[in-house]
Amino acid sequence: MSESKGVWVFSENYDLTLELLGKGWEIADKLQTELVAVFAGYDVQEKADEMVRYGADKVYLIDNPALESFQAEAYLSVLHDLAANYKPEIMLIGSTRNGKPLAARLATRLKTGCTPDCRRLSVDENGRLIGERITYGGNAVAKIASRTKPQIATVPARAFGKPEPQDRNGQVIKLDVKIEEPKTEIVETKPLETSGVKIEEAEVIISCGRGLEKKDDKALLEELGKVLGGQVGCSRPLAEDRKWFTEWVGLSGHKVKPKLYVACGISGVIQHVAGIRDAKTIVAINKDPEAPIFEVADYGVVGDLYEILPALTEALKKHLQ
């Protein structure tokens, strides 16, 4: 066990890799060990050099045409081969829709644990990695340690900030590993129409729930959003059932951390609330005085969003002039 060393990071998503490097740096510093980025791809030397500037002491670069796009078994075999050989102490893996299954299978091959979707990571007095994750549908936060090595944790995008690049030294080490044949075949990829804006980065979010009657009524929220420089969000049913949006806020959607979150016609079911815990101030507008959203709001208004929203927009316009 004691031979394990180093904090490793991996994500097939480059931006997320940089975020992992930022957090990994902190952990490696505390443990007085090296920070390693594993980089699987094709024709990516330049980006590998850049990872050093973002904090990597070493970059293990596996540059191979078979790795050009994400293929589960190919990437899995690379990570498994390297981890089995070099025995990292900690592996942080980006929790994307491809990365999380990858981490789960890697942990299984390495016969170790895995703590998924960590929104906080720390090192305890015994040098163990402690991952914090939301559980029980948003009712609780669990702190989890691994009993086995490597200690694997997956980390969602934008849970941690990107570090500042610096002029520093590090090594990019090219390695050859045996790459496993994919067991699945990708037939087609259709880009998803997303709004393009990143709601996790918004300072102000005006969100609507099933209290909104028609799609066009979004305009009410957009008006307020314009005055406050904010973005419009929603609860899951508006995206998944009604298809008025492509993304939503909550446990299974985006976790947001704005200065101001205005929930209009949202009941405040625990899975929604799990996504807004880090908001500085929460305002709730709901017809029903018993709605649970009022229990987690700083300011509550019992009333019809169709009346309150336009009035609030007007009032704020005056204040902000």
């Binding site: 644990g113 998803l192 102000v204 300011y299």
Partner: protein
């Protein structure tokens, strides 16, 4: 005949969980249980495949240290042909690694299969690991986050939801898929279906019936603490004579908080 196996978890109904305000610990022991939501979608999808291809057997497998018969009966009423209940008090502290091992050994004992269907995540732990771990142990191709599924001979074709794209993927069966809630609207069993289900078989196994040396199911993780997050919200209700007055009071409060404007 094709065999489709659905991994069905009995989960804590998180919408009915209570928190002890003094310790912020969850009161899980007395909390009601139900079929994990995504697993209902998994079961529904398996039944739809069966309806489409005609000849197929849909089996469910549930691993639990507690009683779960009500949940299994419900699955049979919804349309599963056979339910396997892997029940042992020794399973109390298993983690995702152990659960996947128990599921893998159970599935091997059930016999040859074409497709294993799991939920993307379970309602209570929401870890989203068990399906992938199981695919690895069974050494079969896996397709995760599936929102559309079809079969052609011994090939599954599935559309996955990624962060920024939909991806269509093919794999040769036997394979494992994990489904999202988008994939279908689960049916609600009728009284007839409930009655018919009472004749269907529940097979119960314990750890001793499976090849499960203790080290296989030893937890690889340690849960250090589980507490309800602190909610320190002001909970100020804004009231007034009319809408304009309420809006004005709220606007003022937000300006004072410093959360609007530059």
């Amino acid at each position: 005949m094709k065999r489709i196996i659905v991994c069905l978890k009995q989960a804590v109904d998180v919408s009915q969980l209570k928190v002890d305000p003094a310790t912020r610990h969850l009161i899980t022991a007395s909390a009601p249980k139900k079929i994990s939501d995504f697993d209902k979608n998994a079961l529904e999808e398996a039944i739809r495949i069966k309806e489409k291809i005609g000849e197929a057997e849909v089996c469910t497998v549930t691993v639990s240290s507690e009683d779960a018969k009500a949940v299994l009966r419900e699955a049979l009423a919804i349309g599963a042909d056979k339910a396997y209940f892997v029940n042992d008090t020794g399973f109390q502290d298993v983690d995702t690694s152990g659960t996947a091992c128990i599921l893998a050994e159970s599935i091997k004992k059930i016999g040859a299969f074409d497709l294993v269907v799991c939920g993307e995540s379970s309602l209570d732990s929401f870890s989203g690991l068990v399906g992938s771990r199981l695919a690895e142990l069974l050494n079969v191709p896996q397709i995760t986050s599936v929102r559309k599924l079809s079969m052609e001979g011994d090939v599954v074709i599935a559309e996955r939801t990624l962060e920024d794209a939909y991806e269509t993927v093919k794999a040769r069966m036997p394979a494992l898929i994990t489904v999202t809630r988008e994939i279908n609207q689960p049916r609600i069993p009728s009284l007839m279906m409930i009655m018919r289900a009472s004749k269907k078989e529940i097979v119960t196994w314990t750890a001793a019936d499976l090849n499960l040396p203790k080290e296989k199911i030893d937890a690889k993780i340690e849960v250090v603490e589980v507490v309800a997050p602190k909610t320190e919200r002001k909970k100020i209700m804004i009231t007034g004579e009319n809408v304009a007055e309420i809006a004005e009071k709220l606007a003022k409060a937000l300006v004072q908080e410093g959360v609007v404007g530059r």
